[in-house]
């Protein structure tokens, strides 16, 4: 026999349960504040002005900005025990050897890591720092100068401080190229390209190039390139150069970018409406399992059905008719982009006139990212 409780009892039980989670704060929690990067990353448009104020030290700003974009890969997310030896000076110990680099040509080496591969001049040296972090992104430097360990650790009786920043110095005629992986929820290479950047195709996928005003270099070129199969993930290749010889270095970088390929290679979406329909069919079947309201959408064309809620919520104030139309297209990202629009017959106080959802579909028909928003006019 069931026992009965009221909604108020249930609410109280939920509150009580959440209150009962024992969470003594770890002693290390506040220490994160002692190992912040040296400066908050300023937006790039101001980096030139900042450089005038802080001189060469502002190089760190650029690195930290890139690190932030890449999901803060330098920053260990857990504080370990105090380091046995204190050192406040930048470490100049040799970087651990990078991933195997094979000779692709007499004067070129091959970089192949984290799904990204390209050729680069053999004269460039690779600096590969392993940084432990639960949200780390691999970082590698290719450079014609020494690139010291970006993070230094100091400790005293109370706490350990780790600071990460760009510690290399560009001398005349040198360059440093940083390779990072990043992700932002909602990022879409095809629609999120910054103003002033140049659209490109790299390795068969969309990319863009920005020219950054560098604080201590003559030229800073930053390529943001797609990461296959993941709309909101990307790679960043950031190159800082100091003249003379900028044009030659730029040519080398452009050759590097032209050689980019993905490992494994990107499989182009099949062409033709049959492939698109098959992808849409597969995706709709999966969506309906999530919420039967997705059944409003049909491959045969617009449908009008009575619904009492939107597929991902919220409920409507009153059940009413909704007209559902869908469109699927092959994206340059080599993913299917399905647009699902649900228009209500009369505006609803919870929903307005309806919603448009963008559902990304993987080449195998499985569901990728889904982003919903108000109905497009």
């Amino acid at each position: 026999m069931s026992r009965r409780i009221t909604q108020d009892d249930l609410d109280a039980e939920i509150r009580s349960h959440l209150a009962d989670v024992r969470t003594p704060e770890p002693a290390s929690l506040g220490e994160v504040l002692h190992r912040l990067p040296e400066r908050a990353a300023a937006p790039r448009r101001w980096s030139l002005a900042i450089s005038a104020l802080v001189g060469f030290a502002a190089l760190a700003v650029v690195l930290i900005a890139v690190v932030a974009i890449a999901g803060l890969p330098f920053i260990g997310s857990r504080l370990g025990p105090a380091a046995p030896a204190a050192s406040s000076s930048p470490s100049v110990t040799a970087a651990t050897p990078g991933p195997p680099a094979s000779a692709a040509a007499a004067d070129l080496l091959t970089f192949d890591e984290n799904g990204l591969a390209f050729a680069y001049p053999a004269a460039w040296r690779e600096f590969h720092y392993a940084v432990t972090s639960s949200f780390s992104s691999q970082i590698t430097f290719l450079a014609t100068v020494d690139v010291p360990e970006p993070c230094t650790t100091t400790s005293n009786a109370s706490f350990t401080t780790t600071q990460c920043a760009n510690r290399y110095q560009l001398t005349p005629g040198t360059l440093v190229v940083g390779i990072l992986g990043g992700a932002f929820p909602g990022f879409d290479m095809t629609t999120g390209r910054p103003a002033g950047s140049t659209a490109l195709t790299v390795g068969g996928l969309p990319a863009y190039l920005e020219t950054v005003s560098p604080p201590a270099a003559d030229l800073d070129l930053r390529w943001t390139i797609s990461r296959p199969g993941m709309v909101d993930n990307f790679y960043t290749i950031d190159a800082q150069m100091r003249g003379p010889g900028i044009e030659a270095m730029r040519a080398q970088l452009e050759a590097l970018i032209a050689s980019v390929r993905y490992d494994p290679p990107v499989v182009p979406l099949p062409t033709g409406s049959a492939a698109a329909l098959a992808a849409a069919q597969s995706a709709l079947a999966a969506l309906v399992k999530d919420s039967p309201v997705w059944g409003c959408f049909s491959l045969s064309g617009p449908q009008t059905v009575r619904i009492d809620s939107m597929p991902d919520g919220p409920p409507l104030a009153h059940p009413q008719l909704a007209t559902c139309t869908m469109k699927i297209e092959a994206s340059p990202l080599q993913l299917w982009r399905m647009s699902l629009s649900m228009r209500l017959s009369t505006p609803d106080p919870n929903v307005g006139t309806g919603e448009t959802t963008i559902q990304w579909i993987n080449p195998d028909g499985s569901l990728g990212a889904r982003i919903g928003g108000p109905l497009a006019p």
Binding site: I5, T6, H17, P26, L33, A42, P43, A68, F135, G313
Partner: protein, 187 residues
Amino acid sequence: LVIVIPDDGEVLTPPAEHAVDEDRRAVFGRLAGAELGASYQLATRLLGNRGDAEDAVNEAILRAWESFDRLRDRGAFRPWLTRIVVNVCRNDLRHRRVLQIDPLGDDDRTAADPINDGSLRDGVARALRRLGPEQRVVVVLRYWNDLRVDDIARLLGVPSGTVKWRLHAANRRIKAELSRSGWEVER
């Protein structure tokens, strides 16, 4: 000029004179330091275990520091940081298949509580564990942070109706789970 930070949707303006303020670190440290405890408590309830919560708070603090120059109103630091913490935790939850929950401490309530012999409590715990990320977030914000629906909506950047629906769906799921434990919730 308005900048939209894509990971939390916060609308921010460019920095004013404080852009190169050498006291920034101290100001940030004071503001963030005051919120560390609350952020950790929230993250623990969202993520279910202390290790992930510590990671999430660390990440949130670093993200906040990275964007600190662009925080228009430093008086809004608390909701701003809370939003970042919630977003970090949501992202974490979305990428997990299994929610790892730390065991609770000893429960000394059940003997003295006539309504609850432990099965209700267990049922609620199980139900909360099985909520999807979005439902879990609104339940924690509603029942732990005691936020109103409109405030949750503002914090998450979604319509109030969406928050209501998620709470409704979460409640329905919790009731279904409780009914398996022999509890019925009266209307």
